[in-house]
């Protein structure tokens, strides 16, 4: 599948560096550096209609009826205002703060049908890998590369190696796509897929809805993958049909015929193969400061004293020191101060449904936020009454954006605060300086809200 898509985007080659045609480019407020480069070089934007911008990182998640004027911090407000100015100047489509379709740059394009099978998509954001769930090649790039893409609609790249992960088995109750990808990262290590484009295959993946596939592809970067992909199938096509940017009528039929040619042939060869048995998994939590520091919730905090490798021992000890955890304590006993359900990993409608199912069983004991990934998700959830389930259980129902995932819109943890979070990174200070993050699935996050600790969500299903 990768080769078929890659080959049709090659314009030229210089000693193994390929000049690739870019179908779609995505970015957010953080691309101010790329615009400075464009301006400095007096380059125009070559195909503005293929470039899409999103207000997500810097938007507030409450008080949104006031629009931009509601952002108190002038520096943050400027980021939002500048994106609007820059996109207007260059004729780029912006899903702005007031747009009824507003949301995170990895949530909105699939919803709008901008993400399609067979595309080469880039984003000035590492989690662009999310879009590979539709059978496209999608990856993150830096500001210089983004300036290059905008100026030329092309990108210089080397061919990545390919890695297929076959995931079979049906996950038990309380085990979700998030647990599958965390288990895979724990198994392979945070650099396990470095330099590789990962194709996720197998019966578990085939059985997942698009939301689950996106969660998995989203976190490809967390084990070093250049991108993640899932072959398009009936689930993909059913999701796409009728979306605003999806082809219509005769074009839809033509597109379908083309998309069906994309999946890898039987016997396709990959540079590397891995596998995982999803049937054997328990809900996962992270205990440290790298996504590879993940373990089944039934486990215990590791004891560095029992690790023979010196480098590993130092690393674990440093992580536990930052996280303020005692070796050997049960993971399910870790008490949390807050809960965050949101981010481009887990803020789609299926995620909110899973969390709501748990939220019905009690009341939140710690401040717990629900931040839907987009206005569309928010509206859908409200139509299903999920917002009332959450607010009835004491959760806060907020407006879409990246919010606590990266803590630059003003939402952040206080130093020392511990958060059960459905986002993708538990790096030091990711959710605010000194904040401590435990990555979990939306259902596990809801269970943490109800119990005030990293409880095994399966307790709620008996």
């Amino acid at each position: 599948m990768f080769e078929k898509i890659w080959e049709r985007h090659v314009i030229a080659e210089e000693e193994g560096e390929l000049l690739l045609y870019v179908d779609r480019a995505l970015f957010h407020e953080g691309s101010s550096h790329a615009f400075r480069m464009l301006d400095a070089g007096q380059h125009g934007v070559r195909r503005p209609e293929q470039v899409f911008a999103f207000n997500d990182h810097y938007v507030p998640t409450h008080g949104r009826e006031k629009g931009v004027a509601g952002i108190a911090n002038p520096e943050i407000r400027n980021m939002v205002v500048n994106l609007e100015k820059n996109t207007k100047r260059y004729g780029i489509t912006l899903f702005g703060i007031d747009d009824p379709r507003q949301g995170i740059l990895h949530i909105v394009p699939p919803e709008q049908g901008i993400t399609q099978p067979g595309l080469l998509m880039v984003g000035a954001d590492s989690h662009t890998s999310t879009h590979g769930a539709f059978g496209s090649i999608a990856f993150g790039i830096g500001a210089s590369e983004m300036a290059h893409v905008m100026a030329t609609q092309t990108l210089w790249q080397r061919r990545p190696k390919t890695l297929r992960v076959t995931i079979d088995g049906s996950p038990g109750k309380g085990v979700y796509a998030k647990d599958v990808i965390l288990a895979l990262i724990a198994q392979a290590g945070a650099g396990g897929a470095t330099g590789h484009l990962v194709e996720y295959a197998g019966s578990t993946i085939r059985g997942l809805d698009m939301e689950g596939r996106m969660t998995i592809c989203n976190m490809s970067i967390e084990w070093g993958g250049r991108a993640g992909m899932v072959a398009p199938d009936e689930t993909t096509f059913a999701y796409m049909e009728g979306r605003p940017y999806a082809p219509k009528g005769a074009a839809w039929e033509r597109a379908l015929d083309f998309w069906k040619t994309l999946p890898s042939e039987r016997g396709a060869v990959f540079d590397r193969e891995e596998s995982l048995d999803a049937g054997a998994l328990a809900p996962m939590v992270t205990w440290g400061t790298s996504p590879e520091h993940a373990a089944p919730v039934t486990g215990r905090v590791p004891d560095p004293a029992q690790v023979s490798d010196e480098a590993k021992r130092t690393e674990i000890a440093a992580a536990l020191d930052y996280m303020a955890l005692k070796p050997g304590m049960a993971l399910a006993d870790i008490a949390v101060d807050r809960v965050f359900i949101g981010s481009c990993t887990n803020s789609r409608i299926e995620d909110l449904r899973a969390a709501a199912q748990v939220a019905r069983h009690g009341r939140a004991r710690v401040p717990s936020w629900i931040v839907p990934g987009s206005m569309s998700v928010k509206k859908q959830a409200e139509a299903e009454g999920l917002d009332r389930v959450f607010t009835g259980a004491g959760f806060e129902w907020r407006s879409p954006g990246c919010s606590l995932c990266t803590a630059i819109n003003g939402d952040q943890l206080q130093p020392g605060e511990r958060c059960a979070s459905t986002s993708n990174r538990n790096f030091r200070g990711r959710q605010g300086t000194g904040g401590r993050t435990h990555l979990v699935s939306p259902a596990m996050a809801a269970a943490a809200a109800l119990t005030g600790r990293l409880a095994d969500v399966r307790e709620f299903f008996i």
Binding site: I11, Y21, E49, E145, Q153, G195, T406, R430, T433
Partner: protein, 204 residues
Amino acid sequence: MQPFTKLTGIAVPIDEPNVDTNQLCPTRFNKVPRGPRHAEILFHDRRFEADGRDKDFILNREPYRHAQIVVADRNWGCGSSRESAVYALYEFGIRSVIASSFGDIHASNCCKNGLLPVVLAQEDVVAIRRQLHAQPGATVTVDLAAQTVTDPAGKVYRFEIHPVRKQCLLEGLDDISRTRQYAERFEMFEEAYRRETPWLFVER
């Protein structure tokens, strides 16, 4: 972009694996326009207390305040695609990072800014760091043309780098002008491509 040719400089050992770009440039500094302020931003939350006092972090100690080379561990620069992580390294004075593996996007961002990422075997980076800890302030030489690293003891390691990356770094070439030479090819390509998959093109 400044060309990178050959550099002999103080090398700082950073022993941790998985140093992510959030460490190199904490997220709240992403909005800072590129400039000298980035020197302070590098590893900001590891280097400074909330009130601005220095913490005990290796880059705050002499002679490492003048380091030009980082010798790291595995998976350096993983995480976010932020190029500001490279600006922070660059403005601090770092021109080359030696590690056993890199986050892909970060490595590419380094090259676009005249900062050379060098991949050596894990046992080699460990060995070089050990020497640096034993002799703080020792220098390492990175020679891009020859594709070699020379450690304080004089041992030479060869590294691989893609020829195009190498040439761009040696000459300080910027990509956009390189790509402009393909304008005609681009037009032909796009026309054929549009015919094959017309639905991909958004009409406005």
